[in-house]
């Protein structure tokens, strides 16, 4: 187990123990080494001192050849148990006297020119010259056993081991106690953190046990918890709101994570699927609905999941016998799916479609019937008009003959009545002609070409103003765009409109007529404006009717067919026509023509 993975309590103890252990060990080693060398030095010094004393005491014995005395001196070494052998050689190198202790039996030969003490194996030994004054009298050899040093070393070692063990135990005891001041706040903090992450309870607070860095850490941790708690609350409020929205909305809603598992399903969705929440949450959509594999469902879900773009589709889901409108959106964790049961709408839509089809059929039939009726009516009115003309012409012809032949024999009253008959016959003829013209125009085939409206209007104006030379007329002709229209019928249009303008301004001192065109809503709107008697807009609905007149015959003559013809031509071209006027304040007529 690595030191970094140990619990902090043990780590502290181990660190302290290792540190103190190293210190104790080093101290012991230094102490031991120092003792060892000091002891060696001391031993050498002591032995050499002892040697010097023995040598000094032995001088007389050597000088006066008294081995007994020498033996006596050497035997004093008994007091020093570590001295195992002492030899006194005369100046010739012969053994003069000797002292041995224990098993030291072999005699040690004299070695010339060797002085000083040295360690040799288990012994410290050395030679020392015996000198009196400046006379060399002999040599002393001493051998000291190092057993004591060994004993001592052993003792020291045991002592060091004891001290190490005791200090180790003491260090363990102290570190176990003292580490608490460091580890306790950390452990308390760690425990609180564990509780928080385990129970997700952010209301817990760590106890601050010290005012050091760990204390600051505890404060920071608590602040963080407070922050998290606050945010969690805010999040919960938000989540509840969202949940209400999701539950309250009309759609069924389900969300999937990136591995296709259900993470949320609202109540609508549960009702739609007829399932419980626990049957869905955590399961993949493919487990729950294996039948949507390979359908538009899977294709759309995969597409949204992969490309992160919304998708929507309508499909009939046979398992539920239901039409569904499905919308898929990418979200943070995967996709969100909204289902709407559109079976009702689909039914209504189908009904509308079939109803419309029926209606269209009906309209077409009615139109056909109407067209037939219209044609019959037109041919009827044409033939009636045509057929009416012959007897009328007979009435008018014979009345003419009658007035020419018998006018002289009749009185004034008779002549006046005769004239009325003739005028009315003539008027009736005019009416029939107009009716025929109207009828013809209605049936005439339109030949549309590109025509110059300016030229057309100019020609009509020149023609019309010929009978009005005595009048002062302010005529203005604005630029007119070319038109794609039938020139013959369009000539009728301008002819009628200009003659109307001239007719209804007849009573004006100064006549003003303006023709122009403006572009409005992408269409060319032609207009003709006069300052004539105008009309009351209340009667506008009668304006374009056949034989409908807003003025009396006496005021302004006419048959009431002109504007009907104009309207018919414009309609047949696919255009529109309308007018604006006020009684006695002039009138303006507008019409449009479709572009090519």
């Amino acid at each position: 187990m690595r030191l970094a993975d140990l619990p902090i309590r043990k780590k502290l103890v181990v660190v302290i123990m290792m540190t103190s252990g190293a210190v104790v060990l080093l101290t012991c080693v230094v102490f031991f080494t120092y003792e060892y060398f000091t002891y060696r030095q001391t031993t050498v010094r002591e032995l050499s001192t002892l040697g010097a004393i023995i040598a000094a005491n032995s001088t007389a014995a050597l000088a006066f050849d008294d081995p007994g005395d020498a033996g006596e001196i050497l035997s004093a070494l008994r007091a020093e148990p570590q001295i195992v052998a002492a030899y006194l050689y005369d100046k010739e190198g012969k053994i003069f006297s000797r002292y041995t202790r224990g098993a030291q039996k072999d005699s040690i030969p004299f070695r010339e020119n060797v002085t000083g003490y040295d360690f040799a194996g288990r012994y410290l030994e050395g030679y020392q010259p015996v000198i009196q004054g400046n006379v060399h009298l002999g040599t002393l050899y001493l051998r000291s056993s190092m057993d004591e040093m060994r004993q001592r070393s052993k003792l020291y070692f045991l002592l060091a081991a004891f001290v190490a063990v005791v200090s180790f135990l003491l260090a363990y005891f102290l570190s176990s106690k003292l580490q608490q001041s460091v580890s306790r706040p950390i452990l308390s903090l760690a425990k609180t953190a564990g509780t928080v992450s385990e129970k997700k309870d952010y209301s817990v607070r760590a106890d601050k046990l010290s005012n050091d860095e760990i204390g600051s850490l505890t404060d920071a941790f608590n602040n963080m918890l407070a922050e998290i708690q606050q945010q969690t609350q805010a999040l919960n409020v938000h989540r509840l709101k969202l949940e209400n929205i999701v539950q309250g909305m009309g759609d069924a809603y389900a969300s999937l994570d990136s591995r296709w598992r259900y993470t949320y399903v609202n109540d609508k969705a549960l009702r739609l699927m007829d399932m419980r929440k626990d049957q869905l949450i955590g399961k993949t959509i493919w487990e729950v609905f294996p039948d949507i594999r390979g359908t538009i469902f899977e294709a759309s879900y995969q597409k949204t999941m992969k490309e992160r773009i919304p998708a929507s589709f309508e499909t009939f889901y046979a398992s539920y016998d239901m039409w569904l409108e499905v919308r898929v959106y990418p979200d943070e964790e995967g996709i969100a799916i909204f289902y709407t049961d559109i079976s009702k709408y689909k039914k209504v839509e189908e009904e509308i479609v079939s109803f419309n089809q029926k209606l269209e059929l009906m309209v077409a039939e009615r139109t056909r019937e109407l067209e037939v009726a219209n044609r019959e009516l037109e041919s009827f009115s044409y033939s009636v008009s045509h057929d009416l003309r012959a007897p009328l012409r007979s009435v008018h012809g014979y009345m003419n003959i009658f007035s020419e032949e018998y006018a002289a024999g009749l009185d004034d009253e008779a002549r006046r009545l005769m004239k009325i008959i003739l005028d009315n016959a003539k008027k009736m003829g005019q009416l029939i002609d107009d009716l025929l013209a109207f009828s013809r125009l209605g049936r005439k085939e339109l030949v549309k070409t590109d025509i110059s409206m300016t030229d057309l209007v100019h020609g009509v104006w020149e023609e019309q103003k010929r009978g009005e030379d005595h009048r002062v007329i302010d005529f203005s002709l604005g630029p007119l765009p070319r038109a794609f229209a039938d020139s013959v019928t369009m000539r009728h249009v301008w002819s009628n409109l200009i003659s109307n303008a001239l007719k209804y301004t007849r009573n004006r001192q100064d006549t003003a007529i303006e023709i122009g065109c403006v572009q409005k809503d992408g269409r060319n709107v032609y207009h003709i404006k006069d300052n004539g008697s105008g009309f009351d807009m209340r009667y506008y609905n009668k304006l374009f009717g056949v034989f409908q007149r807003l003025h009396s015959q006496e005021e302004f003559e006419g048959t009431g067919v002109g504007l009907a013809i104009v309207q018919r031509v414009i309609y047949r071209h696919g255009g529109e026509i309308w007018a604006e006027a006020k009684a006695d304040k002039g009138a303006t007529f507008f019409f449009t023509l479709p572009e090519r």
Binding site: A60, D65, K91, G133, V135
Partner: protein, 193 residues
């Protein structure tokens, strides 16, 4: 005696002895046994005389100069022959070269530091020692009555070994200090006077 023969003699001295013995051997002259024995004994005594110089201190006044010789004197008959000269040849004690001088009268020997008195007669010894009493002279002899006569150190034989008898009072009276080391080896004898 074998033990003694060349025993404590320094190399230079030993070489001299060897030379001497070799000479007598080469000359082929028969050395009388008695003489030879005496000679061996006095060789040891000669060496001891030399060694006394190391274990005895004289007062400063006994040397008028720093390098004045330390004089070993022989009074009367000389039993050492030339051996004593050979033993001390080239030696010095604390800067004082050793010199051998021979005297016939005790009054002449007052300048000695060590004086070997070879005579036997107690009266003769007593008068000689009396004469030297006030001088710083270490008196040495081998007469049995030497200490009684007022001498300081006496050689005597015991178990074939030369031993010493010392009267430290006599030495002290003459201003001569005998080392305790030396005293330790010797028989201390203070005569009743």
């Amino acid at each position: 005696m074998e033990h003694f023969s060349m025993g404590r003699i320094r190399k230079s001295a030993m070489t001299n002895v060897c030379l001497l013995l070799a000479c007598s051997a080469l000359l082929g002259g028969p050395v009388p046994a008695a003489l030879q024995a005496t000679t061996e004994e006095y060789k040891v005594k000669a060496v001891f005389l030399f060694h006394f110089a190391q274990f005895v201190e004289w007062p400063e006044a006994s040397f008028s100069e720093e390098q004045e010789p330390l004089i070993i004197g022989v009074l009367g008959e000389d039993p050492f022959g030339s051996f004593l000269d050979e033993v001390v040849a080239g030696e010095d004690i604390n800067g004082h070269p050793l010199t051998i001088r021979r005297f016939n009268k005790a009054e002449d020997a007052a300048a000695c530091h060590i004086l070997f008195m070879g005579m036997d007669g107690i009266s003769q010894l007593r008068s000689s020692l009396e004469m030297l009493k006030d001088h710083n002279v270490l008196t040495v002899g081998d007469s049995p009555a030497f200490i009684r006569a007022g001498g300081m150190i006496r050689f005597f034989s015991e178990n074939n070994k030369i031993r010493l008898q010392i009267n430290p009072d006599a030495a002290r009276a003459s201003g001569v200090m005998i080392s305790s080391k030396l005293l330790r080896l010797a028989d201390i004898s203070i005569p009743k006077s």
